[in-house]
């Protein structure tokens, strides 16, 4: 059941990214480009997605997940260097190509060689990240 629900969730995510136009890098870069021909679509996508998610978080109260286990713990209050540094690096890459992890997979079948190069290099970055993180934490302790 767990895998079936995961397939359903991924399918809804993929359908939503396609229908909303978020697989189009021009729409993403258009949202980020406040000095160009600004495209507000991404704000509607974010807003639309937050509504059902907000309801879902309310429904987790006093319940357990359908397939068992526990809901994720309360979010940490601590921000930390890695959160800020990581978000800045991610944002720079997001702006450069107009792709983030979800849409990069959703558009993989129709994004040509560029789509493959993006997912390949993203995987490389993800593979290297734990070692980079350890090195950085050792060189410059976070707190």
């Amino acid at each position: 059941m767990r895998n079936l629900f995961a397939l359903l969730a991924g399918s809804l995510f993929g359908a939503g990214l396609t229908v909303s136009g978020m697989v189009d890098t021009a729409k993403v870069q258009g949202w980020l480009d406040v000095f160009g021909n600004w495209d507000p679509t991404l704000a509607f996508v974010m807003g639309g997605a937050i509504i059902p998610m907000f309801v879902a978080w309310q429904l987790t109260r006093g319940r357990k997940p359908l397939v068992g286990g526990e809901f994720p713990p309360k979010p940490e209050a601590r921000l930390g260097r890695n959160l800020v540094l990581g978000s800045v690096l991610f944002g720079a890459g997001w702006g450069l190509a107009g792709l983030c992890p979800g849409p990069s997979i959703a558009s993989l079948t129709f994004n040509g060689i560029g789509g493959l190069v993006f997912v390949g290099s993203m995987a490389l970055g993800m593979f290297a990240a734990p070692a980079l993180r350890t090195t950085l934490d050792r060189a410059v302790p976070a707190e």
């Binding site: 909303s20 021009a26 879902a56 429904l59 959160l83 993800m126 990240a129």
Partner: protein
């Protein structure tokens, strides 16, 4: 163009429903970078079947929908160096920050997580600055 925001809103609700299913059924946060990253670095191999099922839906459904569109242009740059640099930045960055647009943006903001809100503000600012710099100043993208 004027119907773009309606499609954006509809698509957004679908994305949120996906996140709601993943949370309420499986008890997990729908974060694309975490789901992929756990498979890549081995930290999530114990839940590999669940992760792969999610990614299968994410990959296949768009491929099935797209043929119904008259034309699909994702406007991805043809400069593979820019794409490779962007991919590495996205890969490293999302793992350092422990989340991306779906995990921090959609799932984090909707539970009023301070980390999710700060991360989202930071990556939008960095993304905006990058587009302005590389498009309007340097003319690369």
């Amino acid at each position: 163009m004027e119907q773009d925001w309606i499609m954006g809103l509809i698509g957004g609700v679908l994305i949120g429903l996906g996140g709601a299913v993943y949370l309420l059924a499986n008890g997990r946060i729908m974060g694309a970078s975490g789901i992929i990253g756990g498979l890549v670095d081995g930290s999530g191999w114990s839940t590999a079947a669940e992760r792969l099922s999610f990614l299968a839906g994410l990959l296949i459904i768009p491929a099935l929908i797209v043929p119904f569109y008259k034309e699909v242009d994702t406007h991805l740059t043809s400069n593979l160096w820019v794409i490779a640099a962007a991919g590495i930045l996205v890969g490293v960055g999302t793992r350092f920050a422990n989340g991306c647009t779906s995990g921090h943006g959609v799932c984090g903001i909707s539970r009023l997580s301070l980390r999710g809100i700060v991360a989202t503000v930071m990556y939008i600012l960095a993304g905006g600055l990058t587009v302005v710099l590389f498009r309007h100043v340097m003319g690369v993208i």
